[in-house]
Structure formats: C-alpha cells, structure tokens
C-alpha cells in the first residue's frame, strides 16, 4: 500500500469518485457488466452443447432434416427458411431499437416512441415464431422407434425418402388405455401413449417390403464402410444417415421396444436424446430473454409516452435497454449458427 500512496494524487482524481473513468454512466456500465456475465452464461450452454455434439459426432441429428417447416407450406420441406426469417425479424427489431436510441439523442420524443413501438412488435413476432417452432418440434413429423439398446430407428422407402409411421403401420385388434392419475393407485400415471404400438409398427413393416430402416449413424463413403454388407450402399449417401438393407432392417426392428413420436425431455424422434434437451434449454433460455426484453421495452415505452425522459432531459434509459435488446439479438446470431447451420 505504501508504494501506491505516493501516486495517489493523480489516482484520486480518476478513481476517487465524482467522475466517470470509463466515460459511461454507472447504469450503462452496469448494463455492460451484466451483459458480460450473461454472455458467459450463454457461452457455457453453447459450449456444453458443443461438448455433447463432439461426443456423439457420428450420431448427432442433422439440423436441416429436423427444422423443415414453414407456415402455410404444409408437407413442403423448407429447411432454414423459417429460422432465417426469424433472424431477420430480430435483426430488424435491433435496427428499430438503434433508431429509437438515435432519436433519443435528438430529444425527439414521438420518434423514440414510434421506434420503441416497432421494436416491441418485432419482439412479439419473434417470440410467437419461436413458439410455433417449438410446437412443430414437439409434435414431430415422421415418428421413429427406439431399440432396447437405446438407439433410434427411422423409416425410409426404397428411394431413401422418409416415411411416417402412419403411412405403413398396421392396425391390430389390441387396446391399451392410458394410465391416468384419476384411474391409478397411489397417484401412479404414465405419459401420453403413442399412436401405434411396437407390434403394429413391426406388423406394418412386414407387410411393406419396400420399407427400410435408417439409423442415427452418419454414413462415411470409404472402403471400410463399403465392405459392410448390412448397409444399403446405393441409398446411403456420404455425410447422411446410414440406410440398412432389408434383412438387417428386419433384424434391427425385432429389437424395438418403444415408439417415439415428436420430442420431449426424455426422448425424441430426431435422434440423440440430448439434442432435444439442448434445443429446449438453449432456445428456451434465449426466448425467455426476448420475452423479458419485450416487457422491459414496454415499461420504457410507457415512460417515454408519459414524458419521464423529456423531464430528465436525457434518453439514456432507452440506450440502456437498447444494449440489452442488441445483446439478445447477438445471442440469437450464435444460436442460429450452432443449432441450424453448423
């Protein structure tokens, strides 16, 4: 301490209080530090996602086969377009936010209010889009079967195109009632039953000789894979999921014990169980940030309307929520890359 005392005079002027060493107000500085910690939280999540993905690199689901929906285009495979649209909505709401901040610098109250309003609308559209994306993800499209060993089997036809369970599963004269809490003893219950039983899928598979099984494993177009007689080498493509021969498909399906439709936190029809968990957790946490951002924006919007910042002669509060809003956009840019592109 003794050594620092000698230089304390000049230090005192900078750090002694009463001025702003970073030339940013206390509130703005704290918003920056909050953003640093939140950025590290999201980095932790995305790094954990990367960990699981590298761990199961050969069996991880392919994003452009999972997210293929677009509003009003039912049955059309449109990978990426919808998330691209969501990205534009968020980038555009960032632009209107920064325009609001800019109008604030000119003390233009009506313009600030107008741009804040547009930002809030953009935020709502984004959260709504996210909900629609979740709905499709949870509902699923084709359905799959899980084996006793925990791996997932999907179905394709003789052209290698995906086939839904409903397209081939047989209807057997069997009946299974869902155990609900009101019917069970000691509050025992089970989750919703799938539309088909394993036996129905197996019977339907037998009746349709053109149907083959596609595994989770990525096909590698090399000599070692070519020697494998269990794989249908004409249908399997490099860096796509492996399609098995009919004989091997039958052998694998005999080992099935669960029908999987859509996604929940335990299993999903897309592949690796962790995939859905990370999807729900990371996009959910981001969606929660967008939602709270919208709420904060609404509060500030009303403050602008009643003239709080006009009285203060400074629209810095708009700048601070702007920082948060841009941060949410920034996180989405990374989520978009690591969930949908890479």
């Amino acid at each position: 301490m003794g050594a620092t005392v000698t230089t304390a005079n000049s230090e005192e002027k900078t750090w002694g209080g009463g001025n702003e060493p970073f030339r940013a107000s206390y509130g703005k500085l704290m918003m920056w530090f909050f953003i640093v910690s939140d950025a590290l939280t999201f980095s932790g999540f995305l790094a954990a996602y990367g960990f699981s993905r590298f761990k199961f690199i050969d069996t991880w689901p392919l994003a452009d086969e999972v997210f293929t929906h677009f509003p009003f285009m039912h049955g059309v495979a449109a990978p990426m377009y919808y998330v691209a649209l969501m990205t534009f909505i968020l980038i555009f709401s960032s632009v209107t936010m920064v325009l609001a901040v800019d109008a604030g610098h000119h003390m233009n109250k009506s313009k600030v209010a107008f741009y804040m309003f547009l930002t809030i609308i953009g935020g709502f559209i984004f959260v709504g889009s996210q909900a629609w994306e979740w709905k499709n993800f949870i509902k699923g499209e084709y359905g799959a079967v899980e084996t006793k060993g925990g791996s997932l089997l999907q179905f394709v036809n003789d052209k290698g195109e995906r086939v839904a369970l409903a397209d081939f599963a047989a209807t057997l004269p069997e009946y299974r009632e869902r155990l609900e809490r009101s019917k069970g003893k000691w509050f025992s219950e089970e989750s919703a039953l799938p539309s088909f039983s394993v036996a129905e899928v197996q019977a339907g598979f037998k009746a349709h000789p053109e149907i083959l099984i596609r595994t989770e494993v990525l096909y590698k177009d090399d000599a070692a894979a070519k020697a494998d007689t269990k794989i249908d080498h004409t249908l399997s493509k490099h860096k796509h999921k492996t399609i098995l021969t009919r004989a091997e498909s039958e052998a694998r399906l005999a080992n099935a014990h669960l029908v999987v439709e859509g996604a929940n936190l335990v299993r999903n029809e897309y592949g690796s169980k962790l995939f859905a968990d990370f999807f729900f957790f990371i996009t959910g946490f981001h969606g929660f940030h967008v939602f709270s951002g919208v709420i904060i924006n609404i509060i500030i919007f009303f403050n602008v309307l009643i003239g709080t910042y006009e009285k203060r002669r400074s629209y810095e509060m708009v700048e601070k929520v702007g920082l948060y809003w841009h941060f949410v956009d920034l996180v989405w840019v990374f989520v978009f890359t690591f969930f949908y592109l890479v």
């Binding site: 970073f22 030339r23 940013a24 500085l29 920056w32 530090f33 953003i35 950025a39 590290l40 980095s43 932790g44 790094a47 954990a48 990367g50 960990f51 993905r53 590298f54 761990k55 199961f56 690199i57 050969d58 069996t59 452009d64 990978p79 990426m80 691209a84 990205t87 534009f88 980038i91 555009f92 960032s94 632009v95 936010m97 920064v98 325009l99 901040v101 800019d102 610098h105 000119h106 060993g149 925990g150 791996s151 989770e216 490099h238 860096k239 080992n255 810095e316 700048e319 702007g322 920082l323 841009h326 941060f327 920034l330 840019v333 990374f334 978009f336 890359t337 949908y340 592109l341 890479v342």
Partner: protein
C-alpha cells in the same frame, strides 16, 4: 458518443444491409452445401462450418460495435468488456471440445457397445 448529437442513420442502415447480406449468404450456403466446402476438412472441422463460424463472428462484431455503439466507447471500457469474454470462451471451448473428442474416441474404441 451520446454527447456528439450527430445522427448516424446512414451507418445504421448500412450495418443492417451488411447483416442481412451475411445472413442471406449463410442461408444459401446452408441449403446448397457446396461439396468443395462441405467435404474438405481443416483442423477436424469442414470448411463450410469454419465459414459459418467466421461469418457469425463478423456479424457479432457489427452488432456490438455499431448497434451497441462500442466504437464510441473509451478503449478501456472496450477491453474491460470484450477481453474477459473472449479469453474465457476460448478457454472453455478448448477444454470442453478436446475432452468431448477424447470421450468420443473412448466410446468408439471400447469393447462394449453402448448404442445398438
């Protein structure tokens, strides 16, 4: 900075243009997946993924520098915010991804089948 009171509308729209163009390029690459990029690896990741990651960082730079107006802040504030994030993220990624690759190898070479 806020004291200057000059409108930077032009810059805002220019950055919006850059971010849009980069996003469109990413989406096109993601749909087409050119074989030249998708099938060639650099440091155990294909070139397409490297391009996506570089473009993402490029977008992140524009969002932080232009929209969050980092370019108008003092250098000390810039470093205080950006340096810890970059250092810690690189460190975390290094540890986790190397470990993940190790576990992948363990599963792959094990005598016990874990997923069948």
């Amino acid at each position: 900075m806020s004291h200057e009171h000059v409108s930077n509308l032009k810059r805002i729209w220019m950055v919006f243009g850059i971010l849009s163009v980069v996003t469109i390029v990413e989406v096109i690459l993601g749909i087409v997946k050119p074989d030249v990029l998708h099938m060639n690896n650099l440091l155990s990741m294909n070139l397409l993924n490297w391009i996506f990651i570089i473009l993402t960082i490029f977008k992140a730079y524009y969002i932080v520098w232009a929209f969050m107006h980092m370019e108008g802040e003092k250098t000390s504030l810039r470093w205080t915010v950006v340096a810890p994030v970059i250092f810690l993220v690189l460190y975390l990624l290094f540890i986790l991804l190397v470990e993940a690759d190790y576990i992948y190898e363990v599963f792959k070479n094990a005598t016990i089948k874990w997923n069948f």
